[in-house]
Symmetry: C3
Subunit: 415 residues, 3 copies
């Protein structure tokens, strides 16, 4: 039997780690490390699954794999969002076999027609002998929390309290994701460890050279190297200029300087965060030219609401402009593979071709994402080298990479 | 060195098994379990290799892989069917490199031209030094038994007695597979563990919804849920109606009720069986409409001979109608892969296009097979889940799945 | 953590080895054996990387993978050939991402623009905090030696002395590889263990049947089975006929009999060798018809210089005629995969189409190589069998296979 030698993972590797530097290479390719991550981070954690508008009506469902675990999210008869292990409780058949769809009032396993309610109960199992206890054979549930149109699930038996995250993500409320629809979703297989994807996400040190369209729109790369009074003043002016209008819209600027907001916070075990930031002058939306690319989304009448940014470890980030919202969901598929789904939301009433064009909606984040995936794959090839030795992290630019590593190591050693 | 930790496989997993339920998930994907199965079940067992008509003439051969072991079956100069490890005894070259073919009086290794007789002896090894003992360097033999046109092999050094199986499979004699030919063979890579394929085969609980063409033809799904006197009576009438004609043809009805014949029999270590069953009224052959799809096969003059069904663990089943015979051969190729070869036999004299059409011959079993392979692949994805927990087996429908599991576990713990 | 259990590899497998026979099967597919080979043979050894003419100008580079280690070879500003681990010292990005190319005076990492000199020093790392010591963050060097236009590298921290190999390979000097160019290079993925490729290379027992074009050109298969006085005389006559002209050209015949020169020499740890041999009458070059296929290469004015053959374990061999040179470089990529690059050199001034035609230059070694790769793949499939048992090696033909195995086992047990 192959088992994870936890103590070996903990002691041997952990001793190699040097604060201020990247993780030792084995963290990115060792099978036992990966197995430990599934047990300590991914299965216990709260994972973004999708948007509530992806399961708008009773019976709507979507599926995904968390590592080797097939999961289904479905809206039940009472319009409640549920999640289950997508595994028939009889012989183990994967019950829902499509990426997404809608089922009638009951879900019938294609193998032996065991029939489950949309809230998971086993309704019928014709052909079974007397004495089979149907009440014990419902679909195995997965914990679900929804907040502001976002669905989070946890595979843990006793998940951690979601309330603090709920409070933070409620800031997306005015954008009304519940009233949105998926304009487009792209699925990627990134040939890189999931931590490489996060380490890429957690700094904009790489942005100037790699994301020309992205750095034109925001202040992520401003002022990071040194807190020059001039730059700080320039941002303050932009902030001041918008503050009043935002306040009228009921939202507040929460990140008022250049560089990335601090995230995560390993000392306080904060794995979720949201901040609203200004864009550069002339940008109303995260688009190639800063113009809006869809009708206003949510309750706003003034487009001047900046950009709401949210993230949650280990698998979610989102950027929401006044007119559209872009979500990235990560899922691990082995040490050297991460699946990403990038989802573009627009108002449900908006008509493709008339009210928005995909060729204007997609490029900003499609380019940024694909530029990043390529970088991540090149990092994987390098850290796979037996000669790889972690380098120093920039205290000016990579403080969030350090925070991510600290958070990660605290989770890995927590058990 | 990677070794199979037998005691771990035995104790840890076995303790998880609960009678009346499916096997724990690890049995379907753990590498050590798979290695143990090769050692305890596949290499010691008798494996169906092919039909004697596939090697009709001296020098005819076919090859296959049992896991990583290349095997060749060949008819020798004395018309005897032989089997060998398809590995040159010099440097290990795979000797026969095609799926099938015919060799002249000697087999020449393409690498260094070591030359072997069709009965395996090393005839020549020009270029070797004095003192090389050719008599020790013949091809390494694999045990072979043939019965009624079927070839079984065993990779064991001391295979178990084949005589009881021979006695049972002799019931295929009147169908004269020796006088048949392969009308068509299809090869499949099923992305599922071999046991999932067997568990699928050992019940018709899934047939009504998945195999419409199959259940129209037979009584496999009749009367299984409850022994209703009415159904039993209906079958008895069909049986009575055919009995006399079958007796005239020299065959007997051996399965005279609905549902599947009991197989295997773990208590008596019975891994082989044959039974002759009636079809529903109007069916003369296992075809889409019940009509014959080829000239009569074998010694029969009356098409009314029902269907002979044979099976042997771990890798063979066959359904033989009056006019054609369909064989399925399984071979494992890793924990999550099973190769299947489905072979259609018709009378050797029958001419394709004139005496039979493939579009009428194939669909019944091609559909049934492919429907099953898809189900098996969906089960594999489910049992790979860390959340998979075996469900109860129906005592009405899945008694043979239970018997298979019992047989399997007895083999796995036998060493 | 997955670690190589060295003592297990050493003791368990080694005890199975029987002198005079091939290696036990596990040596060709066991993951721990492969890991030990990387540590004991490939990383400590001197590996042929490429020709100096592949990096003719400062900034020219080429890359390759030694197992999972990306390596780059580059000519620096002082025209010195350097090699580095192709891994950025910051976050581990694979720095050079193409097979070959030319960089300007500095190499800029695409991720965060750390900038390295072509001799490896870190020149700039804008964005890092104060106190980062650039002098410690240069590219990690790989030892390089060049001799007669050939580049060898070693991943060892303290490589073995290259001087003896340099002395031997200096015999290629007159052929002036420095003044050559790559006319063509072909890359292969051979689905076979690297040792199978060497064992194929180390005997011409297989040549008569598999390499018709090759055996027409030389005496490799002459006289091997028995030292017949007639054959010996025939070769002596050819040698005598050429000796004087070669002497005038400043080269000497060093292999004056049929069969392969003895290599390697495990007793004296000789992993490199060179010999000059005659071709059969009428052959001036290793080409399909023996005619020259390119202008003279090097300092020669008389085409009658025989064929210089060089080899170095674990990854290099070369055959050089008067007009062109063919190099084979091996690189391991897992237990069952070897990458080969075959490189044809001609004089740098020669113009394709005018002075040489690829369709005349390539076939002799392209055919020979591809014939061998197929044989190697068939051997891999055979030695993967659990039934594989090593056969005896011919003392007449396979003395060099025995020498290779002896050398290999001495390396494997040396630590």
């Amino acid at each position: 039997m192959q088992t994870t030698d936890k103590s070996a993972v903990d002691s041997q590797l952990f001793r190699q780690y040097q604060p201020g530097f990247g993780l030792p290479g084995a963290y990115y390719h060792d099978a036992d490390v990966y197995a430990a991550e599934m047990e300590r981070i991914w299965r216990p954690g709260w994972l973004f699954a999708g948007h509530t508008c992806e399961v708008a009506e009773p019976g709507d469902y979507f599926t995904f794999f968390m590592d080797t675990d097939p999961i289904v999210v479905i809206r039940d008869d009472e319009r409640q969002v549920r999640a289950f292990h997508n595994v028939c409780t009889h012989r183990g058949t994967m019950l829902f076999q499509q990426r997404e769809g809608r089922v009638g009032r009951a879900v019938v396993c294609p193998y032996h027609q065991w029939t489950f309610a949309r809230h998971g109960d086993l309704l019928a199992c014709r052909g079974m002998h007397e004495g089979v206890n149907k009440s014990e054979l419902g679909l195995r549930p997965v914990a679900v929390e929804t907040v502001a149109g976002m669905i989070f699930v946890s595979l843990a038996n006793s998940p951690s309290d979601f309330a603090p995250a709920r409070e933070v993500f409620a800031s997306a409320g005015p954008h009304n994701f519940e009233g949105a629809k998926v304009a487009k979703a792209l699925e990627y297989e990134i040939r890189a460890n999931w931590k490489i994807v996060w380490e890429n996400n957690r700094e904009c040190y790489h942005c100037d050279a790699n994301h020309p369209q992205y750095v034109k729109a925001n202040f992520d790369t401003a002022d990071a190297e040194q807190d020059s009074p001039e730059k700080r003043q320039a941002i303050a002016e932009v902030v001041a200029q918008h503050e009043a209008r935002w306040a009228a819209a009921g939202v507040a600027v929460t990140h008022t300087k250049g560089g990335l907001a601090r995230f995560p916070d390993p000392d306080n075990d904060i794995w979720f965060s949201a901040s609203r930031t200004v864009q550069v002058d002339g940008y109303e939306s995260e688009s190639m030219d800063g113009r809006r690319v869809a009708p206003l989304l949510g309750k706003f009448t003034d487009p001047d609401v900046g950009v709401l940014r949210m993230r949650a470890l280990p698998n979610f980030w989102n950027h929401t402009s006044c007119d559209h919202s872009v979500t990235t969901r990560l899922l691990p598929a082995g040490q050297r593979m991460t699946r990403a789904r990038v989802i573009w939301l627009v108002d449900r009433q908006a008509r493709e071709g008339a009210d928005y064009q995909l060729e204007k909606l997609l490029p900003f984040w499609q380019l940024t994402s694909e530029q990043d995936w390529h970088l991540c794959e090149m990092v994987q090839r390098g850290v796979d080298s037996t000669a790889y030795s972690p380098g120093p992290l920039s205290k000016l630019w990579e403080y969030n990479v350090q925070a991510f590593i600290d958070w990660y190591l605290s989770k890995m050693s927590a058990i």
